[in-house]
């Protein structure tokens, strides 16, 4: 490492060089257009939870990246660096400081983006900066670990294929028992299915109930579906660590498996960043157009109810509910109305949270923050805004369509003693299913079969 200003460390030089390769016109526009009007300041939950500390201001954080661009790629910064606050990085320590900003002070929630009069998309170039740092090995330990799991094992929680299949088989047995139908299946690698269903590894490892709930809904709808034994992870850490190669590899793996199984439609379970990565960003990262349909399971479940494929009884979900919009679903994918419509069909008492939809505040677990334990205290402090939002609804349960948000909200609810439950739409829909007739039918059918067998 060299502390001199005319020489820079190997890593710092790499970051500068690679930046030139990662700049698109969209990013250059965002890096050039900021007028430092400060209108974005109050849109950030970190700012609101840390009054008086300007280092959390979106424009300030953006300038930590922007200064590099100005110094190395823009005229004014090259020739008049001090005049426009251009600057470079020279040491690994400076890269560590940049890491603290791009990983530890921003969840890439894009709330400042939609509040910028100029259309500056900080989240996009913050992600780029994360990618530059990851490329030289500077990242939070948790990010490195999870990315490695996704590269090497194929899913971000390191679930082995046999464990995945074992969990699905276990849930299949649960399904058979609950439905009183020994023939009920959770198909794996079935060819020519109408739906290929992909999930979040968190479901396999920590919340298999959501797989069972989805399976019950598919069963009741009579859906011809399958789960792939490979490429079932619809989450994508490439979104968080800024590595387009990882993003492309993970999304490509999902797409390839849908093609290999000759599936007609890809359905993704409730996960905000997974939905955004696989549905929206994945084709860009993988540099491939997807020829099959892809949709969120929220839309699938809603369609089942509208088409009469499943019947629900909202009285089965008593109590009051509010809905938390995942940033990636709402602000980056426009998935705001379908979850509300679905929720209103399965609960009686729905209370809107304010602000909501694309203006909702981050659960604080976005941008991979849940894997960055070194920033946990900072994250929980920034959760004050969300805790106040939740409390103001007076609801007993907060519903969200994102596994990451489930964890982020659970942390905040515990930290601020909000006293709420957290659940997902799939759980509520499964709970509201009108299944009695079907179970009675199954019981009668199999009792008769058993009687025939003597």
């Amino acid at each position: 490492m060299n502390n001199g200003k005319d020489a820079r460390s190997y890593k710092a030089q790499k970051v500068i060089d690679r930046m030139g390769q990662k700049l698109s016109r969209q990013i250059v526009g965002s890096l050039t257009a900021c007028v430092h009007c400060g209108m974005c300041t109050d849109s950030c939950h970190y700012v609101l939870a840390n009054p008086g500390d300007p280092t959390y201001a979106p424009a300030y954080k953006a300038d930590m990246i922007r200064k590099l661009f100005k110094h190395h790629y823009d005229w004014t910064g090259k020739y008049f660096p001090n005049w426009v606050k251009a600057g470079s990085v020279y040491t690994d320590q400076e890269l560590e400081e940049l890491k603290d900003t791009v990983f530890g002070k921003c969840t890439n929630c894009r709330r400042c983006t939609i509040n910028c009069p100029m259309g500056v998309d900080l989240a996009t170039f913050n992600r780029m900066a994360r990618g530059l740092l990851c490329h030289v090995g500077i990242m939070p330990e948790g990010v490195e670990y999870v990315a490695k799991e996704q590269w090497e094992i194929g899913n971000q929680m390191g679930v082995l294929k046999e464990d995945f299949i074992g969990t699905i088989e276990w849930q299949e047995e649960e399904l058979q028992e609950e439905m009183q139908d020994p023939t009920a299946k959770i198909p794996i690698d079935k060819m020519n299915a109408d739906i290929v269903y992909t999930v979040n590894p968190r479901e396999v490892k920590h919340d298999p109930r959501s797989i069972l709930d989805a399976a019950k809904i598919f069963y009741m709808a009579g859906e011809n579906y399958t789960m792939p034994s490979e490429g079932w992870d619809m989450t994508n850490f490439g979104l968080f660590n800024g590595d387009d190669d990882l993003g492309g590899a993970v999304a490509g793996r999902v797409y390839d498996n849908v093609r290999e199984l000759k599936g007609k439609k890809l359905v993704m379970s409730e996960c905000g960043h997974g939905y955004r990565s696989t549905r929206c960003e994945g084709p860009n990262w993988a540099k491939q157009d997807i020829e099959f349909e892809a949709e969120s399971s929220v839309i699938t479940m809603l369609r089942y109810i509208k088409e009469g494929k499943i019947k629900v009884d909202k009285t089965k979900n008593p109590g009051s509910f509010t809905f938390h919009d995942s940033c990636n679903n709402a602000r980056s994918c426009g998935l705001t109305e379908e979850p509300r419509e679905l929720l209103s069909l399965v609960v009686e008492d729905f209370r809107e949270m304010y602000p909501n939809r694309a203006e909702n505040y981050c659960c604080t677990g976005g941008g991979g923050a849940m894997s960055m334990s070194e920033y946990k205290a900072r994250r929980l402090k920034s959760g004050k805004v969300k805790a106040e939002q939740l409390t103001a609804t007076g609801a007993e349960t907060v519903v969200t369509s994102c596994h990451n948000c489930v964890d982020g909200l659970t942390d905040i609810i515990g930290h601020y003693n909000v006293g709420m439950n957290v659940t997902q739409l799939v759980n509520l829909v499964a709970n509201a299913l009108v299944v009695d007739d079907r179970i009675n039918e199954n019981t009668t059918k199999y009792a008769a079969e058993l009687a025939t067998l003597g």
Binding site: A33, H36, S43, D121, R279, K287, I290, T336, E337, R357
Partner: protein, 228 residues
């Protein structure tokens, strides 16, 4: 009118305008050399949005302060923004009216309108200077260019206000200074943040296209499913 004032109103302005246009041309050329990232993602969100609709919405959001929380929740700041930019329009117009259509300034109404707009912008400029210096968030994000650009524009408004009547009976100093400032302004702008309007159509369009494709723009305030 002295030769110096005539030179400042005409030749100097023309040179400055050509200079600004040249730098802008180079600047746009530089900007366009960056590759436009291809968007491959299929449309998401409700079906009534698309990239074109999103881009149109994005471009005019600034004229609809209720669409952004940042402008909706700060009506005073938004009013300042409007007045400041109206002042810019009035001062630019004045810099063309005086040399090329001085007869228009015989209209007291027009002179009053220009004076109102530049006067209001001057006040806003002073408030913005104070805000930029005293607000810790603004201070932290400000560069010398931010301060200088604001001071330059505010001074320009002051001289535009005084020059609006185009009256040189008391001396040419005010109008002379207004035109010297205008020339400097024209040559400085392409290198400063004041040139943000050059990028505005691009950044807003790109954002709007992306958010339109994803069904984020136009932003929804009430359940679409209840109105479909």
């Amino acid at each position: 009118m002295s030769n110096l004032l005539h030179f400042s109103e005409h030749t100097l302005q023309e040179i400055a305008l050509v200079f600004m246009a040249t730098v802008y041309f180079l600047r746009i050329k530089w900007f366009l050399k960056w590759t436009l990232a291809k968007e491959r993602q299929p449309a998401t969100g409700m079906g009534d949005t698309n990239p074109k609709k999103g881009a149109r919405y994005s471009l005019v959001m600034i004229m609809k302060p209720w669409t952004m929380e940042s402008t909706r929740s700060k009506p005073f700041m938004y009013a300042q923004f409007v007045l400041f930019h109206l002042g810019v329009v009035a001062a630019i117009a004045l810099s063309f009216i005086i040399p090329y259509g001085p007869g228009l300034l015989k209209s007291a109404a027009l002179v009053s309108a220009i004076q109102f707009m530049t006067g209001a912008a001057l006040l806003v400029g002073i408030m913005r200077i104070i805000r930029r210096v005293t607000n810790p968030y603004m201070r932290a994000i400000s560069s010398p260019d931010d301060h200088f650009s604001l001071i330059l524009l505010t001074s320009w408004f002051a001289f535009a206000l005084m020059a609006a009547s185009n009256d040189i009976s008391g001396g040419e100093g005010i109008i002379q200074t207004f035109f010297l400032l205008t020339a400097f302004f024209l040559m400085y702008v392409p290198f400063s943040k004041i040139s943000h309007y050059l990028y505005y159509p691009f950044t807003r369009t790109y954002m709007g296209r992306s958010f339109g494709r994803r069904g984020v723009f136009p932003l929804r305030k009430k359940p679409a499913y209840e109105t479909v």
